[in-house]
Symmetry: C2
Amino acid sequence: MTDIAPILAGDVRAAARLMRDLDDRRPDALAALKALFPHTGRAYIVGITGNPGAGKSTVVDALIAHYRAAGDRVGVVAVDPTSPFSGGAILGDRIRMQRHALDPGVFIRSLATRGYLGGLSRSTFDVASVLDAMGYQRVLIETVGVGQDEVDVMRAAHTTVVVTVPGLGDDIQALKAGLLEVADVLVVNKADREGADRAERDLMQMLDLRTGERDGSNAARSDVTIVRTIATRGTAEGSGITDLAAAIEAHRARAWTGEGATARAKARAVAQLTELVRALLADRAARALAARGGLAEIAGDIVARRRDPWSIAEELLASM
Amino acid sequence: MTDIAPILAGDVRAAARLMRDLDDRRPDALAALKALFPHTGRAYIVGITGNPGAGKSTVVDALIAHYRAAGDRVGVVAVDPTSPFSGGAILGDRIRMQRHALDPGVFIRSLATRGYLGGLSRSTFDVASVLDAMGYQRVLIETVGVGQDEVDVMRAAHTTVVVTVPGLGDDIQALKAGLLEVADVLVVNKADREGADRAERDLMQMLDLRTGERDGSNAARSDVTIVRTIATRGTAEGSGITDLAAAIEAHRARAWTGEGATARAKARAVAQLTELVRALLADRAARALAARGGLAEIAGDIVARRRDPWSIAEELLASM
């Protein structure tokens, strides 16, 4: 059994080891997670997503600097899709944040989506829980891309920030990408670029369209705040970052105190539970397929159109 | 039992009805899909994905015009993430393609990802199979966004085209978004924009980096063709569309004829089977959770930290 005392005391190495063990789906790691659970619930979790190229990582970086300046410890879960470059570690934004690597008040964990078999949300929940139990007051979840996976991941957050930029081709694309669906705070980053006014106007128009279209459990879209930023690496002084932090706090006060808070917390728990069940089922499917010999033969039957894949899948499922 | 004869004869209304029934997971629709399966395998399926704002739909539109001019019938599966705007039908790119609505040689089907519970790939396979059985020589699958879901969807394609544009913020973002992973043909669209040379150079550099890093089953990255386009709605005369079509045919000849073709087809069948099993399991999970009363009570226990979600998920799974 993994000793959870060092993790509760904030020991970074013990936490990193636990996260690795969780990746490997080790049963004792899961037991540790369960034991840590009563110590969670104190961190405020902010999800940050948006179009590729919108400068999410720079915004995350500036937010880290802001929270550090305010004395909060910050944990970051960075979700990188697919790349075999071990989560973008050799190139790109991770490098920009490594400036914080020497700050013991900041812990950054990258998750590659590859190999998670649909369990990305689960892994995000897991890592966020560990960071929460370690006592980080702020946990930032950064996702790249805007697929359904990312939307699911955002369900783990208390406040979701969607970062966009002016002039990203047709502005209507932002709508299509389902971004508005998950946004509590909208950021127009690189606001010194041409087209910032238009981008903000388009976003407001879309928010108006959306009002009343969401399911009843959610607030009206007019609750969404739009903030302009010109985020600069390594400093919270970047124009608009204080406004962004304030918008996050305002959403926190609106959403997570008072009447609606309990219902919201329960909805979040149900979402997490659903994700966990799905992830466990996916594990089971992967194991069943791996254990099943003769997959190559089955594939040959499908290719030759001798048997159809739907019937085979049903058979496999019946045997699970 | 759904009569499949009209569908095999290309009846659009019968096909649309079947697709709706498949959405509703009606057992007789699944039976029809199984019955259609021996009649599939003739369509050539091209997946088209890329960054939001890259102009994918315009490229798809121009490709439709190209294939129509060549006398081929074209089916399109457009995968829109999340939006409750019924698959982007009231705004955006779908409208651009509706010009083809009066052409009986073109059939466009939109899929919203919302509500598919991780079964998006399954639905894409299903619809592509119906279009294949209907006798469309070309099936185009367009996905928006670049999450893991979209990568999974692309496994249904014979050739995958990734569309990008010059000047999309940090070019390195394209790498992070996992785009290169799935590309057989890379398109630099809007190639009349500033930065097209740099975009192409960056892509080539990344392709060089990637060579040899992929798992053995895949061709070296140097097999990827880069094409520049300036796609124009409603015409195949847009600069570069003929080159794009030629690059697709070249990949088809390389990948799907000769020695490697059978292994590739089997790998595709295994991927499809895995997706189907996952989707069926997700259905099972959704049913089990819906059937389970007292979810609100369980959620209350989680919120109060009386019970942890991992243990509850395991219990639920054990009862399935």
